[in-house]
């Protein structure tokens, strides 16, 4: 059976800057815990993470299964995966809560099919690979594109007049502020600003 449920109305996070900042700080803290678990197998970090997520996972599981026992199996299996696979979490790809949700989602998928289990049956992690290392190969594809892009850009970049190129290099490659560039090159700040502006205009022209 193809299930086409239309329960599209997940509550959207309220747009509230203070709330956003708190969420961000929390996500960073949780990511820090995951890093400690991955690097030092820190049990205290894991216990904190567990106490944060277990009640949420239990509530999610209870609603999904309508059964507290299966729900606590879901909590246990999800958090066991988190304990062993914390090194696979990648903060660049999303928040810790999202990563843990996707693990729970996959375990739910497998638990729902367990009773009619067939040995060769495809598993959730094959369909939504979160916990397999191969997952990262997509990043390599992007990395390649990025390299190509960089090559193109450096060709454009070489066409800038020396005075402008040096300023751009200091700001965008070395990460200096305009004031620092002004000090380093012994030229007025206004000149640094105008060279930057002209260089960016020229680059825009070349790329477009």
């Amino acid at each position: 059976m193809m299930q086409l449920q239309t329960n599209r109305q997940a509550p959207r996070a309220a747009v509230n800057p203070a709330n956003d900042a708190a969420k961000k700080a929390e996500a960073q803290h949780l990511a820090g815990l995951l890093a400690s678990i991955a690097e030092t197998r820190c049990r205290r970090a894991f216990s904190e993470l567990f106490r944060h997520f277990a009640p949420k996972l239990l509530a999610y599981g209870s609603r999904q299964f309508g059964n507290e026992q299966t729900a606590s199996d879901l909590v246990q299996e999800t958090m066991t995966n988190v304990w062993h696979k914390a090194h696979l979490f990648n903060a660049d790809k999303g928040a810790p809560a999202t990563w843990i949700f996707t693990i729970a989602r996959n375990i739910r998928f497998d638990l729902l099919r367990k009773n009619k289990h067939r040995r060769d049956e495809i598993s959730a992690d094959e369909l939504w690979p979160i916990l397999s290392e191969q997952n990262d190969s997509l990043e390599d594809d992007y990395a390649l594109d990025h390299d190509v892009l960089m090559q193109e850009i450096s060709a454009y970049y070489a066409q800038l007049p020396d005075a402008q190129r040096i300023v751009i290099e200091k700001i965008y490659v070395e990460g200096k502020s305009q004031q620092e560039v002004s000090d380093a090159l012994g030229i007025p700040l206004g000149t640094v600003k105008s060279r930057t502006r002209l260089a960016l205009l020229k680059l825009k022209e070349l790329i477009a």
């Binding site: 086409l4 599209r8 567990f50 509530a59 606590s72 909590v75 999202t98 049956e121 959730a124 397999s132």
Partner: protein
């Protein structure tokens, strides 16, 4: 440029884990090919995560997990054996390449991961071929290859069908479909898919047979299980 995308409802069911394996495979293969839907799926993932977090904030009962329960679970987790990573990481032998009619096709990642589940190619009719994908479930998933200048008689669908163009193009009464286009078809769609100059490799998942609707092709209906297995 991909024109035919999964509906919001389909994408949502996919992210929520509510689709069956076969439909899940089609959607995840589409996401491999479609950065737009990939981003949408990430947004839905975040929404569902927020919904999960809100379940306890909104005062849902959590009395099922007292301090003792938590400690028991923690102890069990700390003493659990690490899963065998070797089994997961060594599954890199699939190159995702298949060879048909003297041409080479690169399967998208989600499909390439299932390469060992792809069975032998069987001729359906004309220059149309099919290879079953054995997902170990009761769902029917096939790779379908239509050589250039092939057409399927006009039909509708007794169940629902998801079709994803992996490579090439085909057309029907509603439009032209290219790499990455995903079609949802049911009893309301009566169509005559055909290829012209280009061939086409399709991933198709269906939960009911085709029903042929015009002229002599109706004679195919008793044999429509040929198109559904």
């Amino acid at each position: 440029m991909i024109k035919a995308h999964p509906s919001d409802a389909l994408l949502h069911s996919y992210v929520a884990g509510d689709l069956n394996s076969a439909s899940g495979l089609v959607v995840s293969t589409h996401l491999d090919m479609c950065p737009h839907c990939k981003r949408m799926a990430n947004v839905i993932e975040e929404e569902l995560t927020a919904a999960m977090a809100a379940e306890t904030e909104n005062g849902a009962p959590t009395d099922g997990l007292g301090d003792d329960d938590m400690q028991l679970m923690l102890d069990a987790i700390f003493s659990s054996a690490a899963p065998d990573e070797g089994l997961v990481t060594t599954k890199t032998t699939n190159d995702g390449l298949i060879y048909l009619d003297g041409k080479r096709f690169q399967l998208p990642r989600s499909l390439a991961r299932q390469q060992e589940r792809i069975g032998p190619w069987n001729k359906m009719m004309g220059n149309m071929w099919r290879a079953p994908i054995n997902l170990g479930t009761d769902e029917v998933a096939n790779l379908i290859y239509m050589g250039s200048g092939t057409s399927v008689p006009e039909h509708t669908h007794k169940g629902t069908e998801l079709q994803l163009v992996i490579n090439g193009s085909f057309s029907d009464e509603y439009g032209h479909y290219h790499d990455g286009d995903l079609l949802f078809l049911d009893g309301t769609h009566q169509h005559t898919p055909h290829t012209s100059d280009e061939d086409c490799l399709i991933l198709a998942v269906m939960d009911g047979p085709l029903h042929f609707t015009s002229g002599i092709s109706r004679l195919l209906n008793p044999f429509s299980s040929l198109f559904f297995r």
